[in-house]
C-alpha cells in the first residue's frame, strides 16, 4: 500500500524527504505516461472543492489535475458569497461536500481550518491554503520545479523575497526546504520578516540569514523565490511606498543574476516582477504553474489508489 492512500495533506511539516521524493517520482511518471493510461488513474473518482477564499488559479489547477486522471470535480468556488455559507459553519459544509466526493480540497482564511476539516470529513482533505499558515501543494510544486529546472535541491543558494510574515506559501516552503541542505536567505522589509512562532521548530534543522537588502545576495542566488507584498499589510501608505520599489524584480536586477539562476513566484503576481522579466531565461514562474498541474495529479493519484499507479 502506498503511504498517501486516503491520507490528508494538511502541512508540509508532515512531509519528510522520502515522502516528497515519492511525490516527485510519481509526478515524473505522470508526465511520461500516455494520455490513455493517465485517464485510468482516477476514473470514476470525484474531487470536491470548497473555496472560502476565491482562488481561480489553485482551483483550476486541481480541476485540471483530476481531469487529466479521468476523474471529475464538483464544489463551491466562492463559499463566502454562496447561499450555502449563510449561517452555516465550515464544519457542516465540509460534512455535506465530503459525502459527494472521494477527496476534498479546501481553501479557507483561518489558520488550522484544514486540520479541523480533516477531523470532520470522512474523505481525505487536501489543504489548498489555510490562512497565513500553509499551502502545502504549492510547496510540492515549488520544490518539484526547482528539482526539474536545477536538477537538484541540495547545495543550492535560495533567496525568498517579499512578504514573509503573512505569506502562507513561504512557511510551507520553509518546512519543505528543511529536508534539504540549502543555503537560505530571507529578504523582506523589517516589518514583514517571518514569524518566529511559526518557525520555532525548524530552526535547528534550517539555518538562514535575514536581510532587507536583495542586492546583497542577488548575484549568488541559484533560485529567487518572489512573493507578493500586499499593501493592506502595512500600517500606512507611506511605509508601503517606501519599501514597495525595493522588492520589485526588473530586468536590470535579473542582469545581475547568474545565467542559470531561476526566478519563481507562486502567482498571481501584481507588480513585484515586471513584465520585461518574463522573456528572460531566468523566468520560470509559468513553467512552475504548469508543473503544478502534474504534481497535484500525482498527489491525487496516490491518495486515491491503494497501490499507487
Amino acid at each position: 500500500m502506498n503511504e498517501f492512500y486516503k491520507k490528508n495533506i494538511i502541512s508540509v511539516r508532515n512531509l519528510d524527504k522520502q515522502k516528497l521524493e515519492l511525490i516527485f517520482d510519481a509526478t515524473d511518471k505522470i508526465i511520461d505516461m500516455s494520455q490513455d493510461k493517465r485517464r485510468e488513474i482516477a476514473r470514476g473518482k470525484t474531487l470536491g472543492y470548497l473555496f472560502f477564499e476565491p482562488s481561480t488559479r489553485t482551483r483550476l489547477s486541481f480541476e485540471s489535475a483530476i481531469a487529466l486522471l479521468g476523474g471529475t470535480s464538483l464544489g463551491i468556488a466562492d463559499a463566502t458569497s454562496s447561499s450555502i455559507h449563510k449561517g452555516e459553519t465550515l464544519g457542516d459544509t465540509v460534512k455535506v461536500i465530503s459525502s459527494y466526493c472521494d477527496v476534498l480540497v479546501l481553501r479557507h482564511s483561518l489558520d488550522g481550518s484544514s486540520r479541523f476539516a480533516a477531523e470532520i470529513s470522512n474523505k481525505p482533505v487536501i489543504n489548498a491554503g489555510s490562512g497565513t499558515e500553509e499551502h502545502p501543494t504549492q510547496t510540492i510544486q515549488d520544490l518539484y520545479t526547482i528539482k526539474k529546472e536545477k536538477k537538484k535541491i541540495d547545495g543550492l543558494k535560495i533567496g525568498i523575497a517579499g512578504d514573509l510574515k503573512y505569506g502562507r506559501t513561504v512557511y510551507s516552503l520553509l518546512y519543505g526546504l528543511r529536508n534539504y541542505d540549502v543555503d537560505l536567505h530571507l529578504i523582506s522589509p523589517e516589518s514583514l520578516r517571518i514569524r518566529s512562532d511559526s518557525t520555532y521548530d525548524i530552526k535547528k534543522e534550517l539555518s538562514y540569514t535575514e536581510s532587507s537588502n536583495i542586492d546583497e545576495y542577488i548575484e549568488d542566488l541559484d533560485v529567487l523565490y518572489v512573493t507578493r507584498i500586499q499593501k493592506e499589510r502595512f500600517p500606512d501608505e507611506e511605509e508601503y511606498a517606501k519599501v514597495k520599489g525595493s522588492y520589485v524584480i526588473g530586468s536590470d536586477m535579473v542582469k545581475k543574476m547568474k545565467d542559470d539562476a531561476i526566478i519563481l513566484h507562486p502567482l498571481p503576481r501584481i507588480d513585484e516582477i515586471s513584465a520585461d522579466v518574463d522573456n528572460t531565461k531566468q523566468a520560470k514562474y509559468f513553467e512552475q504553474a504548469e508543473y503544478g498541474k502534474y504534481t497535484r495529479a500525482a498527489l491525487l493519484g496516490l491518495i486515491l489508489n491503494e497501490n499507487g499507479f
Binding site: G91, F116, G131, D201
Partner: protein, 153 residues
C-alpha cells in the same frame, strides 16, 4: 508547625494550593475561576517567605476539590505548585502538578486567526512540546504559544 500554617487558617474540607510561585496567586485564582461571587470561602496569602522558593503564594478554597483540568492549568502557571485535598481536617491527597502531553479546552489559542477562535464548534488542543521550557503549540494552527499571554476559555 510551619510559619505558613499560622498565616492561613486550617480548613475542614477543600483544597489547599501551596508553593505557588510568589506573585502568581491571583493569576491562579483567575485561571481556576475561583471568585468570591460564587460564594466560595477563599483564603489567599501572597509573598509568604518560603525556604523552598524565595516567596510563595498559598490559596485555600473551602468545599472545593480541584480536578485534573484545574491541575493542568496550574502546571502552566506555576509548575512548582502542590495541591492538597483536605477532608475533615485530614490531608487525604497530595498532588504535585505536572504538565500533561496535551492540554485540552482550558486555554484559548493566542492567534486570533486560528480556527479555534472562530464560530466553529471546536475546542482548543495544545500540545506540550517542551515540558522544561514550557513550550505549547496549538494543534490546529501550529503556532507556538506564549504561555504568559494565554487566555482561559
Amino acid at each position: 508547625m510551619e510559619e505558613t500554617d499560622l498565616i492561613v487558617r486550617r480548613i475542614k474540607n477543600g483544597t489547599v494550593i501551596d508553593h505557588i510561585d510568589g506573585g502568581k496567586g491571583l493569576q491562579v485564582l483567575d485561571a481556576l475561576e475561583i471568585n468570591a461571587e460564587k460564594g466560595d470561602v477563599i483564603t489567599i496569602a501572597l509573598n509568604v517567605p518560603s525556604g523552598k522558593l524565595k516567596k510563595k503564594d498559598i490559596i485555600k478554597v473551602e468545599n472545593k476539590f480541584l480536578e485534573q483540568d484545574d491541575t493542568n492549568k496550574l502546571a502552566v502557571i506555576s509548575p512548582s505548585a502542590t495541591v492538597n485535598i483536605i477532608k475533615n481536617y485530614q490531608l487525604v491527597e497530595k498532588r504535585h502538578v505536572s504538565l500533561p502531553n496535551e492540554i485540552e479546552r482550558i486555554f484559548r489559542c493566542s492567534n486570533p486567526e486560528c480556527v479555534t477562535n472562530s464560530k466553529e464548534h471546536i475546542e482548543s488542543v495544545m500540545d506540550v512540546i517542551d515540558k522544561d521550557g514550557l513550550v505549547l503549540k496549538c494543534r490546529y494552527c501550529s503556532r507556538m504559544l506564549d504561555v504568559n499571554q494565554l487566555r482561559y476559555s
